[in-house]
């Protein structure tokens, strides 16, 4: 097969395989006629009825708020703590045992404790929980990113009399940014999982809550619609972050491409 024919076949497969999977799903669910696995078309109709947009404000907005707030707090704290720790060896020696411990702790093991400590099953507990566990990937990546900076950059700036705060904003942060974004990507997918878990554990609103209630009342189409929505949320949020990363880091990619030549 010539190179061109191969490439167009690959592109055709890239489009055909996902479609084939969807068709197979529909055919199988029609054929199986199992109430546990409603037809794909039924799920999609249910999806439109629930989420576009009659229950959007009631359940999707609270979930998105929790993810957004928790993730934002984690980003700010991760950078604010990560930069000084990256620059200070003693800071790292003192902080790393705690960072290593909490990043290895399986998050669901702290769900009951978070409810007890915060006296809340509302946004306060959910946002704190999401923020806490999203913090560690960002923090660790920020520390690594700051440590990886060529010290001559910082020394040069210092000898030109650039002040500490300006050195951090103009040199340290931009140089660590690619790695900070890598941490943010891990954290964002973690945020979606934490959202589901916290809304599942004790809640009165949110997509995870709808999922739980639909299961308890054997409403299988709504349950599937909630599963699909969580999948779509995870996918779209990840996509948005990648687009933001491309925009923010365009200088970095360009610089690397130029250096490679």
């Amino acid at each position: 097969m010539s190179g061109r024919a191969y490439r167009s076949a690959a592109i055709a497969a890239e489009i055909a395989v996902p479609l084939a999977i969807l068709v197979a799903w529909q055919v199988w669910t029609v054929h199986a006629n199992d109430p546990l696995f409603p037809r794909l078309s039924t799920i999609l109709v249910q999806f439109r009825e629930m989420w576009l947009f009659s229950q959007f404000e009631l359940h999707v907005v609270p979930s998105l708020t929790r993810i957004g707030a928790g993730f934002a707090i984690a980003v700010v704290l991760g950078i604010l703590l990560g930069v000084p720790l990256g620059l200070s060896r003693w800071g790292r020696l003192l902080a790393m045992p705690h960072v290593e411990w909490w990043r290895a702790m399986p998050p669901p093991a702290l769900l009951p404790i978070s409810v007890a400590l915060l006296h809340s099953i509302g946004n306060r507990q959910k946002i704190s929980f999401i923020a806490f566990f999203c913090l560690f990937p960002i923090l660790l990546n920020t520390i690594d990113g700051v440590r990886g900076i060529d010290p001559t950059f910082i020394e040069t700036a210092r000898s030109y009399g650039v002040r500490r705060l300006e050195r951090i904003c103009r040199i340290v942060l931009p140089a660590a940014l690619p790695q900070i974004f890598a941490g943010m990507r891990t954290s964002l997918s973690l945020a979606v999982i934490m959202m589901v878990l916290t809304e599942y554990f004790s809640s009165t609103s949110g997509v995870g809550y709808v999922l739980l209630i639909s299961k308890n009342t054997f409403q299988l189409a709504p349950m599937w619609a909630a599963i699909v929505l969580i999948g779509v949320l995870g996918y779209v949020l990840n996509l948005l972050l990648i687009l933001l990363e491309r925009r923010v880091l365009s200088w970095h990619r360009g610089w690397r491409a130029a250096e490679a030549q």
Partner: protein, 265 residues
């Protein structure tokens, strides 16, 4: 390394700093609880928690639950490895297959496996099967993606050299591609080992499958706060143990890799 050349003070500084830091945290925990800043119903004192942890360690029930959690984790991680590594090699070495399955993988990967719990309740029920399914599903994706990256990242010159020496396709796969993908697979294993534990615990906590998660759920519903904290401590130690073992494995796998040669020199 500077530490090797330095005196005993420089060499001991990290361990001393770590010990001081951990001790300070534990003392703070004790003080906050003893001073009544947070009631001991919500935050049992550090000493109370560790006493509970210690007596828990002497019960048969604790170790039975612990073993069940480890079993769910091990089956999940093992099954995920058996499925993800060959599939990753296939999708990584064939551009055609890689592109054909790119979209489904990109779409399935970010789906939080926790969202599948209700479905598992209704299909596999509150059994070990559900726990293993959940752990496998979660652990599968990081391993698959890492394996694909690893196989794609093989030095093309090495492949061409092997080909021009007449090394066959299959032999190229396990003599050239696989060894150079090993560090990536090791990184995937480290990530997946943590994910599998999280999901095994989650299945136990939410579905009532016997294990540390279910024990914690029961302790919580009886208001036995000290036991909840002791179980969180035990789960944390399990997570830390898994992390230590798998990141040591990752460092070993990386040792001979070109990216590490400069750092080691």
């Amino acid at each position: 390394m500077s530490a090797a050349g330095g005196g005993i003070v420089t060499r001991l500084a990290p361990s001393v700093a770590a010990a001081v830091s951990i001790a300070a945290f534990l003392v703070l925990w004790e003080a906050v609880s003893k001073a009544g800043l947070i009631s001991d119903q919500d935050l049992p004192a550090m000493t109370t928690t560790f006493r509970e942890f210690w007596s828990m360690m002497h019960t048969h029930q604790f170790w039975a639950a612990f073993a069940r959690t480890v079993r769910g984790w091990a089956f999940g991680l093992g099954l995920a490895t058996v499925l993800a590594v060959p599939l990753g090699i296939l999708l990584g070495s064939s551009e055609f297959a890689g592109r054909a399955f790119r979209v489904p993988i990109e779409f399935l990967r970010p789906i939080p496996s926790a969202a599948l719990i209700p479905l598992l309740f209704l299909t596999l029920g509150t059994t070990l099967k559900s726990e293993i399914f959940l752990a496998t599903f979660g652990a599968f994706w990081p391993l698959l993606v890492q394996t694909i990256y690893g196989v794609r990242d093989v030095d093309p010159i090495a492949i061409d050299t092997a080909r021009s020496f007449g090394v066959g396709r299959l032999e190229r796969l396990y003599r050239v591609k696989l060894p150079s993908a090993v560090p990536y697979i090791a990184t995937g294993l480290r990530i997946s080992s943590a994910v599998a534990l999280i999901l095994a615990f989650t299945a136990e906590l939410f579905m009532g499958i016997p294990g540390l998660g279910q024990t914690m759920n029961v302790a919580e519903s009886f208001g036995l706060t000290a036991q909840v904290y002791a179980l969180a401590l035990a789960t944390g130690f399990l997570g830390l143990g898994i992390y230590v073992v798998f990141s040591a494995l990752e460092r070993r796998a990386l040792r001979w890799h070109p990216s590490q040669r400069l750092a080691g020199a």
